[in-house]
């Protein structure tokens, strides 16, 4: 039988039951490879449920550093009978299927073209542990131990992770190491180890870290000076505020009084959450909220107010599959248009698109500077894949001494020395950005009325059409200013006739696909969007390429629409590569589509080749 042979290049998938502690065991597996110097990209594919439903965890290992989802499964570790029939079908021919052999496998499931590895996990647990919860938890650790033998994972690395994980709870170290050994020895005694797929220590991760984007964003909020977080729980954004809470408890307690230098309010709904952020920002604090698709719909009215009344607002949208409740635990980039034009009337919102946890950190911190500089909402669009999965990332850095950019705010002294009348919406500098004052600054000067209704430059209510139009024009001027204030796109390659535009979590798979294309002689330039509004570099990139692909993870080509709308390009000039099954886009998909178009073969094959399944 064919046995897949690979060193440091494979995909392993774990099929578990949710609520059984499997994610931490699977993370331990991924971290062990990471500590052996191997690039890994773990992805948790979980149900919208707390206990008892199938859940999967996929890890791609690739020493070249490709971190996007590859597609296909080389090794399946299946400890969930519910999903076994489907799981076994997913394994590539020549791949490996590790299962709990305490009961004989249903003969109808057995595939002759894959390698079956039985480990009697339940029997071992029943023999070793009396407590049912321990039996469940250690089962996961035992298969990690077995994998250590089967794949040649350095056992010391695993025990090191166990020690780190249970620092402060040392008595848990020994039983966990014992469980690892149980699996390890069983595999050694019963199978030829390593199997065809194995790992070898490399030095390919440098000083990188493994962190999820939501945690990185929460740290960005702390470093960016946020003091007020108001939110309503919603998957997959919840861990942003959880992270903020966790790290504020460590980093934001006033040493003298023990009081909190921050406030977190779990609001009654998303409307209230964004309302609180707007109220706090209006009153001079840095405030933020985090939500996902349904929350964006609910926050839209307030986003219009913040746009029109010009109140800094920071919103992190961790996108999931919509519409409506959609697939709440699957990833997508489908809030692009809802956010870009959030709210009724003529509104445009500034968007940021991070691709890595480091960018989640940097852009969250920067979002506060941008919001206060531009006096408008800043929406950072991340997604479930980036937000909730541990991603390999550059380490987080902060330039000590960095000052926050608080924007145009007049203080008491400036107001005191002001001879002319204060005009909240007066464009004194010609950049469309007026001056604001915080409530309570000066006894007699600088007070104004903030409102969502039309008003003149002095914030006085008016229904004069000319005044209204003048204000709307100034907001457009501010929009132009924003184009050169927001992060510029990242352009790689120049002079080729084919270009791809991508953003967010499509980056890894896009860059991998570009490498494959290069190997086949198709040279491609790429532009990664980091923000909306688009600046001139985006127009230039589109204009300077004959064929431009737009890669995105939604059905309706929302980013393409936005480009067509804002860059005034013809829809014909942009070719969409779309992925919206709720799983991250793969390099294979991008590669296939570009090859098909570039080679003039625009026909989707009726039967996909084996090994190309996703």
């Amino acid at each position: 039988m064919n046995r897949i042979q690979a060193v440091n290049d494979f995909v392993i998938k774990f099929a578990n039951v949710n609520g059984t502690g499997s994610a931490s065991a699977n993370n331990m597996f991924a971290k062990a490879l990471f500590r052996m110097g191997l690039p890994v990209s773990p992805k948790n594919i979980f149900p919208s449920n707390i206990q008892g439903l199938p859940t999967w965890f996929e890890v791609r290992v690739n020493e070249k550093g490709y971190l996007g989802r590859r597609g296909g499964v080389d090794i399946m570790v299946c400890v969930n009978p519910q999903s076994m029939a489907k799981d076994i079908r997913e394994v590539e021919p020549g791949g490996y299927f590790l299962y709990d052999s305490s009961k004989p496998l249903d003969i109808r499931m057995v595939r002759s073209d894959i390698n079956m590895i039985g480990v009697p996990l339940t029997d071992i647990c029943t023999r070793e542990y009396a407590d049912p919860r321990q039996r469940q938890l250690f089962r996961n650790i035992i298969y990690v131990g077995a994998l250590a033998a089967l794949l040649d994972i350095e056992f010391d690395v695993l025990t090191g992770i166990v020690s780190d994980q249970f620092r402060g709870k040392e008595k848990l170290v020994v039983p966990n190491v014992h469980a690892l050994e149980l699996g390890y020895h069983y595999a050694r005694e019963n199978y030829e180890c390593p199997i065809g797929i194995r790992v070898e220590r490399r030095n390919e991760v440098g000083d990188k870290i493994l962190i999820d984007g939501n945690t990185a964003a929460s740290l960005g909020a702390i470093y960016g000076g946020a003091t007020v977080a108001a939110w309503y729980p919603i998957t997959p954004s919840t861990s942003v505020v959880d992270g903020f809470d966790k790290y504020c408890k460590r980093l934001r307690i006033d040493p003298g009084s023990g009081n909190k230098n921050y406030a977190i309010v779990q609001a009654e709904d998303e409307l209230a959450a964004i309302g609180m952020v707007i109220g706090a920002s209006w009153n001079g604090a840095r405030a933020f909220t985090a939500t996902s698709g349904p929350g964006i719909s609910l926050m839209s009215e307030f986003l219009g107010l913040a746009y029109f009344a010009e109140i800094p607002t920071v919103l992190i949208d961790v996108q999931r599959a919509g519409p409506s409740t959609g697939m709440p635990t699957r990833t997508q980039q489908s809030d692009v248009l809802a956010c870009a034009y959030a709210s009724h009337g003529d509104t445009k919102q500034v968007l940021l698109f991070p691709s890595t946890p480091k960018e989640c950190f940097d852009m969250t911190a920067e979002a506060f500077d941008l919001a206060e500089t531009l006096q408008t909402p800043i929406i950072m669009l991340t997604d479930l894949d980036l937000g909730m999965n541990d991603n390999m990332s550059e380490p987080l850095t902060w330039e000590d001494g960095r000052q926050y950019k608080r924007g145009k705010v007049l203080n008491e002294e400036q107001l005191e020395n002001m001879s002319e009348r204060f005009g909240r919406y007066l464009d004194s500098d010609g950049d469309g950005i007026p001056y604001r004052t915080y409530p309570g600054t000066h006894p007699t000067k600088g007070a104004f009325f903030t409102r969502g209704t039309s008003r003149d430059e002095y914030a006085v209510y008016t229904e004069d059409g000319a005044e209204y139009e003048k204000n709307m024009q100034r907001l457009l001027k501010k929009w132009e200013t924003a184009k050169d204030t927001v992060p510029a796109p990242e352009i790689i390659g120049t002079g080729n006739s084919v270009g791809v535009i991508h953003f967010g979590t499509s980056a890894d798979s896009t860059m991998e696909a570009i490498d494959y294309l290069a190997e086949e002689g198709i040279k491609v330039d790429s532009l990664r969007l980091k923000a909306f509004p688009f600046n001139k570099a985006v127009d230039d990139f589109i204009a300077s390429h004959d064929t431009v692909f737009v890669i995105e993870q939604n059905r309706d080509a929302q980013m393409k629409s936005l480009l067509v709308n804002e860059c005034e390009v013809s829809p014909k000039d942009l070719i969409s590569i779309l992925n919206y099954d709720g799983m991250p886009i793969t390099a294979r998909k991008i590669h296939e589509r570009i090859v098909a178009v570039v080679r003039g073969d625009n026909v989707t094959p009726l039967h996909k080749k084996a090994g190309n399944k996703e």
Partner: protein, 350 residues
């Protein structure tokens, strides 16, 4: 609406302790209908703030949408104001308060803005005991959209259109009491003598101070069949008693007969003195307040005055333990942990 207000001020106008005249607490000209109850409430707020010698710029005025929510333009012109979106003033006030605990927050809303579209946010602001005065200018109808019944309209009450309202009313004072509001009062826009000391007490109270003010809509809901018109309210008014607000620096000079009065000392040392009209009322008992509201309603009377207060109330900041310094005053050195912390964190993530 009033088209003109003379600029002339008598040179010997009385000034308060800060040297401000009453005019320094006024706002822009009202554009509401002549005789609107809301204008009387604005005037009462002006009088209370003037007499309490509050620095006008230390007040933030917040409102939602509707006739009532327009009124913050018409008082305290030297204060920042925020006319937010319909029914959402409580969340904006919550955020504003979190940013700076040292200011005074005055929220003005209406019965539509609070009892319908904003019911959710209202109840949660109550639960959190947000430190603010929340005034509902309650006229039983939607004035700005021409007189539709609101959720506080009594069963059988008919507005100018003449159709009696078939639905049960929401009694906001009772709702506030049930949800744990720490200061609840009801008043009538036509009773300035009662309203001004209630506003003073509400501003001095630490926590959520709710005043439901019946404020007739002269244009759409002031007809004989309406239970929120001037005539009906005046005819059916009852009061829990007379409220005196004695600021901290002032000595109590009036003597009150024993047994018929109750005194409450606020956290800042000021005193609220209630001369009780109904000996049944215990100002520290929610139950007593809820029962009396029902009893008077059964007698077809509207019970006004101070209904309940908890002088030991802890506001949102105290509950969640935020810094005594306003959060907005914290700077980079207070807020940003620096690279060294990140170095350790990065190391733990390898």
């Amino acid at each position: 609406m009033t088209y003109q207000r003379p600029n002339f001020r008598h040179p010997n106008l009385p000034v308060n302790e800060l040297g401000y005249t009453r005019k320094d607490y006024e706002g822009a000209l009202s554009t509401l209908c002549a005789g609107c109850g809301h204008d009387s409430i604005s005037a009462a707020i002006v009088q209370a703030c003037f007499e309490m010698s509050i620095e006008p710029h230390k007040v933030a005025k917040l409102s939602g949408i509707g006739c009532s929510s327009k009124t913050p333009t018409y008082f305290l012109g030297n204060s920042h104001g925020f006319n937010s979106v319909h029914g959402r003033m409580p969340s904006v006030a919550t955020g504003a308060n979190l940013a700076n605990r040292e200011m005074i927050y005055v929220g003005v809303s209406g019965d539509g803005d609070t009892a319908s579209i904003g019911m959710g946010q209202f109840t949660h602001a109550v639960r959190r005991n947000l430190n603010m005065m929340y005034v509902v200018e309650n006229n039983g109808c939607y004035g700005l959209t021409k007189g539709q019944d609101s959720a506080t309209a009594d069963v059988g009450s008919a507005s100018k259109k003449g159709e009696p309202n078939p639905f049960e009313p929401i009694d906001l004072a009772s709702v506030a009491l049930q949800l744990g509001a720490t200061f609840v009062a009801r008043s009538f826009s036509g009773d300035r003598a009662q309203l001004v000391p209630l506003i003073k007490a509400a501003i001095s109270h630490r926590g959520f101070a709710f005043i439901d003010v019946i404020s007739p809509c002269v244009t759409f809901n002031n007809n004989p069949a309406s239970t929120k018109g001037y005539e009906h309210v005046r005819d059916h008014l009852a009061a829990t008693g007379t409220v005196d607000f004695v600021p901290v620096k002032q000595e109590i000079t009036t003597s009150y007969p024993e047994g018929e009065s109750q005194e409450v000392t606020l956290h800042d040392g000021s005193v609220v003195h209630l001369q009780k009209a109904d000996p049944e009322l215990d100002i520290n008992s929610r139950r007593s307040a809820l029962r009396l509201i029902k009893d008077y309603k059964a007698k077809d009377q509207i019970l006004t005055g101070l209904l309940f207060m908890d002088e030991d109330s802890r506001d949102l900041h105290e509950i969640i333990g935020t810094s005594n310094k306003p959060l907005r005053s914290l700077n980079e050195s207070d807020l940003c942990p620096g690279q060294k912390v990140l170095d350790n964190l990065n190391e733990s993530l390898r």
